[in-house]
């Protein structure tokens, strides 16, 4: 017996909000980045959960469909949801690479990774 969709959504919300907490609380730029990764992962979890429960989400639509098209629709919808997750992961990887490069650059310039020290964009 697998867990229902609601449980996955609630877990996703919890992880996302812990990520928000981390971004707001910490002053260390690296920890802020890790919290952002956590938020991206929470969204990925909700995407996969919705994709796997697509039969229930589309139940109204499916009832008016010929039986042979239902399996096809469900499979393609589930695969689409998972492909979204792959794209999100790619964007997360690109974001981590650029962000960590910025952190290294800031550390070289200011000798600190405290985000309070980085105020050069302030007028």
């Amino acid at each position: 017996m697998t867990a229902p969709l609601e449980y996955y959504i609630i877990l996703s919300i919890m992880l996302f909000c812990i990520g928000i907490w981390g971004v707001l609380k910490s002053r260390n730029a690296i920890v802020i980045f890790m919290a952002i990764e956590l938020m991206l992962n929470a969204v990925n979890l909700s995407l996969v959960a919705f994709a796997s429960h697509i039969k229930r989400i589309l139940s109204d639509l499916i009832q008016r469909m010929p039986a042979e098209r239902i399996a096809e629709l469900i499979e393609s919808s589930t695969a689409s949801g998972q492909v979204y997750v792959i794209l999100v992961m790619t964007v997360a990887a690109a974001e981590a690479a650029v962000g960590l490069a910025i952190i290294i650059s800031i550390h070289r310039m200011k000798d600190s990774v405290n985000v309070d020290d980085v105020n050069i964009m302030k007028w």
Partner: protein, 186 residues
């Protein structure tokens, strides 16, 4: 169900630890725990390909990048956890908790609404209720690949351009200023 609760509690515990640890290395280690438990949850949902992808890309590549940067920066102990201002600490927690309560309320509302709706529609139509459970079968890597390279071929190509831009940007940003000048003078 038991597997879900075990993995979910592991993920939440790891996430709280990521946020509360002082040392960034400990945070990164706990983040790996979160990634692995999320991979387990993906496998539970039937997305075995994504579970493997999650471990390889996140727990493997991205976390190694994080640890590499932490070690490269070689932070001193006093630079680990900067004491955030007390106001900021509590305000951040309150804000996150408020958002969480709000989203949970919305989900709870939707769940209640939905269960009432399905009950009424089933009794009205008297159609046999559709099997509402999740699919038992898992999606093969073949189907995911066919979708990625068929329906999503254009976004896939755009993603490759994004990665190229990220690589170039990372190299340009992280390059030491005046490396070329030093090499010339030497």
């Amino acid at each position: 169900m038991i597997a879900f609760f075990a993995l979910a509690s592991m993920a939440v515990f790891g996430a709280v630890m990521v946020v509360t640890r002082k040392s960034p290395v400990a945070s990164a280690a706990y983040l790996i725990l979160v990634m692995c438990s999320l991979a387990g949850l993906f496998a539970l949902l039937g997305a075995v390909f994504l579970a493997a992808f999650q471990i390889i890309v996140y727990a493997g590549a991205i976390m190694v990048l994080f640890l590499f940067v932490i070690m490269l920066l070689n932070l001193r102990k006093d630079e680990y956890g900067f004491d955030s201002r007390v106001v900021q600490k509590y305000l951040g927690f309150t804000f996150a908790a408020l958002i969480m309560i709000q989203s949970l309320f919305i989900v709870g509302w939707a769940v209640l609404d939905n269960s009432l709706n399905t009950k009424s529609s089933v009794s009205a139509d008297s159609t046999p209720p559709l099997d509402a459970g999740p699919q038992e079968e898992y999606l093969s890597a073949e189907t995911v690949a066919e979708t990625l390279f068929g329906k999503f071929a254009y976004p896939f190509e755009v993603t490759s351009v994004l990665l190229l831009a990220a690589i170039l940007g990372a190299v340009v940003i992280a390059r030491r200023k005046g490396v070329a000048d030093q090499e010339e003078s030497e």
